[in-house]
Amino acid sequence: MAERSFAKEVEKLRLGAGEEFAGEGILAITKALLQCGVGYVGGYQGAPISHLMDVLADAQDILGELGVHFEASASEATATAMLAASVHYPIRGAATFKSTVGTNVASDALANLASGGVTGGALIIVGEDYGEGSSIMQERSHAFAMKSQVWLLDPRPNLPSIVKAVEDGFELSEASNTPVMLQVRIRCCHVHGHFIAKDNKRPPMSVADALSAPRRDTGRIVLPPASFLHEKEKVAKRWPAAVDFIKSRKINEMFGPDHGSVGIVMQGGMYNSVIRALQRLGLADTYGDTDVPLYVLNAVYPLIDDEFLAFCEGKQAVLVVEEGQPNYIEQAFAAMLHKGGRGTKLVGKEHLPMAGEYTGQVMLDGIGSFLRANSPHLLPGEVRAPNKLGEGVDTADLINVVPGRPPGFCVGCPERPIFAATKLVEQELGKHHIASDIGCHLFSIMPPFELGATTMGYGLGPASASAFNSPDAKRRSISFVGDGGFWHNGLTSSIGNAVFNRNDGVIVIVDNFYSAATGGQDILSSRANNRTKSTKHPIDEAVKGMGVKWLRHIDRTYDVGKMRATLREALTTEEKGPKVIVASSECMLNRQRREKPLVDKAIKGGERVVKPKFGVDEDICTGDHACMRLSGCPSLSVKSLDDPLRDDPVASIDQNCVGCGNCGEVADAAVLCPSFYRADVVHNPGRWDRFLESTRRAVIGLLQRRRESRRLMFADA
């Protein structure tokens, strides 16, 4: 079950024609799919489209009513391969994933799908994880569209435009027999807005209909000679069809005056930031009415030659606003102007940075610089020659004060003790080469653990350590992979590979019962009952099935001592071949979400419930912070004592502590200090509990009074 429930919001998916929809971009996309009569949807979770998968999962009743099939695909390749259902059948299908990482994984299926082409509309919704808040390498999805010749839509970031892009996308796909990618950026996915809904449509042909009347056409299968014909068909038939559609349906938009000496061309996704820059330059109003001609590319691939050349007609200079690199669009436009023998000057990355997100400031600087150079008369006097304003506040000092705050493990995270144990085992056996993977466990690379040298892709942690397999080596490599990555492709690419190649390294599979980093979606080995999916398939069994002989399972990662002993054994055993440790404990975020309401209810209902919490005896803590160097838990922090005798702040545990046990276990395993205690509060104690307590407290009280009556007592000590 996913971390965020959309159970309430999905009711908005039932809105009918003329009603106003209010909500997040992600939900709007889902509504648009249903309005388009989509027949099936699949995808793989990952920011920024994780919530799209969660919405779809929570909307299964509505999907079912409409006869729409939904899958939580095993990977992005699976999701894209699923679109094969639109090859022969006129069924609209959609797949969604994070890009470019998901597109990388999907590209095998994408290339095959693009080669043969589609009959039913095939839409791939990619969440472009670029710029601030991104967690992946900074690349562009644009290149995938170009290499496979699928069309790429990049709508203006408002709900009506996104919804229209979904509709246009399906039609474009069908008109040109080509899959279409729809790109939405991070903030666009989470933008809150409104649009006027239409009725949902049942798919004219469902997957059930297709199964009962199978079709085939050898000409659509990627094998010679058809594959050679596909390439020709792409340029001779599908491309012109796409260009016609985009032109005739006016997918790209023009704003501002018809004529002017300068103009700006932009990706649709950049429109709002361009308008904001123009507003700040005094050239646009609140509603986007502007003095500068704008050409907005809601379709960024293919580009429309004559549309662009017509826009350039009579203009001395045109600025291309294209985020990311290489600057494919700018290059293509430059070639068009050159071949068309036009004199319009084309600029782009001269005024705007080659790499990095186009933030508000970057846009203001870039467009300002373009206009000053090419059309200064447009600019109001204050912009051309601004009065020198105050320098503002000097923040140089502040930069040294404000600490960085990168993301890290949550309160009570079960992965923390795994890395505490790894750090401890390295203290005994020395540093090892450690390969990391994608997932929450990648936070191990940050302080306080600072473990892990590389990350090569989802499920590829152990694969990325495969070169480190030498009979001469005195130390083994350690690699990590999460349960999400394991099922995504780690089972074959990492475990199978290690078995086959007789890798001698240590592999730790971090099993937290969910695809946790993407929002807690269920996967094959999840322990939860899932109404529509088959869960509870143990990782151990899969690993054994792959041929791993040395396998250890730790079913409570908080046992730091056992975790360390198992790692030590794996690193030192004489046994050859991969040493696999499956370390399992439930993601604490999800566990709390699941258990907290139940516990609260049980306490209210008078049931006996034991609730743990940790604490620190501040007079025993010496303020050396060794515990924090093995934890980094947000609820374990420092506090100053009101005591001039003590210089350094001591450890302190706040109210968010969930009593996971890591503090005590680490203090024990690393022989730190005896200042931690675990306090278990027994709510609604039974008769026996109460009897025991009163007896104990009587005896303990006696001993305490005896000692305390014979010593000096300081009231504030």
């Binding site: 400031q361 503002g392 502040l398 930069i399 005896d617 702040p649 009556s709």
Partner: protein
């Protein structure tokens, strides 16, 4: 580059009615920033505004810095074009849910003196980098406060986390209250309350926190400029005049000791009294006498012109050194009735619930020998095979329930070994170490008073248990190893201070080693 402060009126003479209000929220993941953004959007829509909110939702990334961004404009029937992220120099209201996030907002240019109302909670959530330093690695809140006063048009700061916690809710409620109280948005208090009410869950607690924060912010907004924002740091408490109780004979002994402290000059008295209390509480009246005897040695070398810095340092660090952390002390502290009360209060044990407390111990042969009579302890320690044999039997984690009879009795018994402490091995080792350090410091006092004081302050380095303690000892020794190299230098005290500060920066003492290298290169 254009001056980012150039804020122009939009074209075609946009009136105030068409103005876009820009509001950014900087928070730490897990603080409930999303709830706050939803509330603000709701309030805006209730007041006839069109609002757009965006965020970069780090799905599971719970502890990193995050931004929520909202734009709103009066609904005139046309859709405004809103931006999806805040721009430098173009933010009207900035809400920071933690003080350093306010600092980050200023660094990022989101706060400008001409227009930004900066609302921040003044509480701190320490970042990992601040927590892992062996010393005090926390960032300076003062610096952020001072910069914010100058950077913002209006600055409203108080502890909104506390208001939320006091009312049993999340900080989003008190942040919303502060926003309402600031009157930075043209909306009524009632419309905010309606938005909270529409949320459905925990409405009562949220409204209480909202209301308290709103009033508080109103007060600050109304206060004259200059004193408006900063909650003055609490003044240090007056010297403790602790109430002391106990058997008559002990009280008499205490009064004699207290009289000796009372005879000390005023600047020294507070620290000496605190130190005295600590050592008496740790051992007994006689131990307090030893403490004052030792302190007198420093005092004899001291004078008023120097403000008694040497004696104050001695009073502080002697007490810490004499109250070394041994098993007896830990057991004693964990079995006191005051401790039981404190745990109950911290955990919040309600009437009718039962508390169970588990302690985590990991004794090793070193701790055992330290708690044996000195001769027996050193006998074992000098025989590695025997020590290893015994270590194998005791060296393991022990989880002891101090709410149970046996667990408590065991610790109570160990705590009772206090009266024999002076004869135990650990005491002998600690006294030797203390005398060496104290003698070294005072030996320098006549030639170089400042250096002597700094040597005393080096005691701060010694802390922790087991390996951490060993590392601390090694750092202490390494810092003092520079003394011969610094001999005769005017800035010797400065160097010792610098070395000590370097030693507190990281676990292993890499910074210290670097600093020591610099010392070796100093020309005589």
């Amino acid at each position: 580059m254009l001056d980012h402060n150039a804020v122009l009126r939009p074209k075609s003479g946009a009136s105030d009615d068409e103005r876009v209000i820009k509001l950014a929220v900087l928070a730490v993941g897990g603080q409930g920033g999303g709830v706050l953004a939803d509330w603000i959007t709701d309030v805006a829509e209730r007041n006839g505004y069109i609002a757009q909110s965006t965020s970069v939702a780090g799905v599971a990334q719970r502890t990193g810095a995050t931004i929520y961004y909202i734009e709103m404009a009066r609904d005139t029937g046309r859709l405004p074009v809103f931006a999806l992220s805040p721009s430098q120099g173009d933010v009207d209201i900035l809400i920071a849910a933690e003080l350093m996030e306010a600092g980050r907002a200023i660094i990022r240019g989101f706060v400008t003196p001409e227009r930004t109302t900066l609302i921040t909670s003044s509480h701190r959530i320490a970042a990992v980098s601040e927590k892992i330093e062996p010393g005090d690695g926390r960032a300076s809140s003062e610096k952020v406060h001072a910069t914010a006063e100058a950077a913002a048009k209006r600055f409203i700061a108080f502890d909104m986390e506390k208001i939320a916690a006091d009312n049993g809710t999340m900080i989003s409620a008190s942040l919303l209250g502060a926003l309402a109280g600031s009157d930075a948005l043209p909306f009524t208090r009632e419309s905010y309350e309606q938005a909270i009410g529409a949320g459905g869950r925990g409405v009562k607690a949220s409204l209480a926190a909202f209301s308290a924060a709103c009033d508080r912010a109103r007060g600050i907004a109304a206060a004259p400029i200059g004193e408006r924002a900063r909650a003055k740091p609490a003044a240090p408490e007056a010297p403790s005049t602790a109430r002391v109780s106990g058997p008559e004979t002990l009280l008499k002994g205490w009064q004699q000791l207290a009289a000796r402290v009372a005879a000390l000059p005023e600047p020294l008295r507070d620290m000496a009294e605190r130190g005295l209390k600590k050592v008496v509480d740790y051992q007994d009246i006689a131990y307090g006498g030893e403490y004052l005897d030792r302190l007198d040695k420093a005092f004899a070398l001291d004078n008023a012109e120097r403000g008694y810095a040497l004696s104050i340092a001695a009073a502080k660090h002697l007490a810490n050194a004499m109250c070394y952390d041994d098993m007896i002390r830990v057991a004693d502290l964990k079995t006191r009735s005051t401790r039981d009360k404190r745990v109950r209060k911290e955990v919040g044990v309600k009437e009718g619930s039962v508390l169970q407390v588990t302690e985590y111990f990991h004794p090793r042969i070193e701790e055992l020998c330290g708690t044996l009579p000195a001769r027996l302890g050193s006998y074992i320690e000098s025989r590695p095979k025997l020590a290893a044999f015994l270590d194998r039997r005791i060296n393991r984690g022990r989880h002891i329930r101090t709410d149970s009879f046996t667990g408590f009795a065991m610790l109570w018994f160990i705590g009772g070994l206090r009266r024999w402490r002076r004869r135990l091995l650990r005491h002998r080792i600690e006294v030797e170490h203390l005398e060496r350090w104290y003698g070294l410091a005072l030996g320098h006092a006549r030639q170089d008073y400042a250096l002597a004081t700094e040597i005393l302050n080096c005691r701060r380095l010694i802390k922790g248990y087991s390996d951490t303690h060993a590392r601390a000892q090694s750092k202490f020794d390494r810092v003092l190893s520079a003394l011969p190299m610094l001999k005769g230098r005017d800035d010797a005290a400065d160097w010792i201070r610098r070395l000590r500060e370097a030693a507190l920066k990281d676990e292993k003492g890499d910074m210290l080693d670097g600093a020591l290298k610099t010392v070796t290169t100093l020309g005589g």
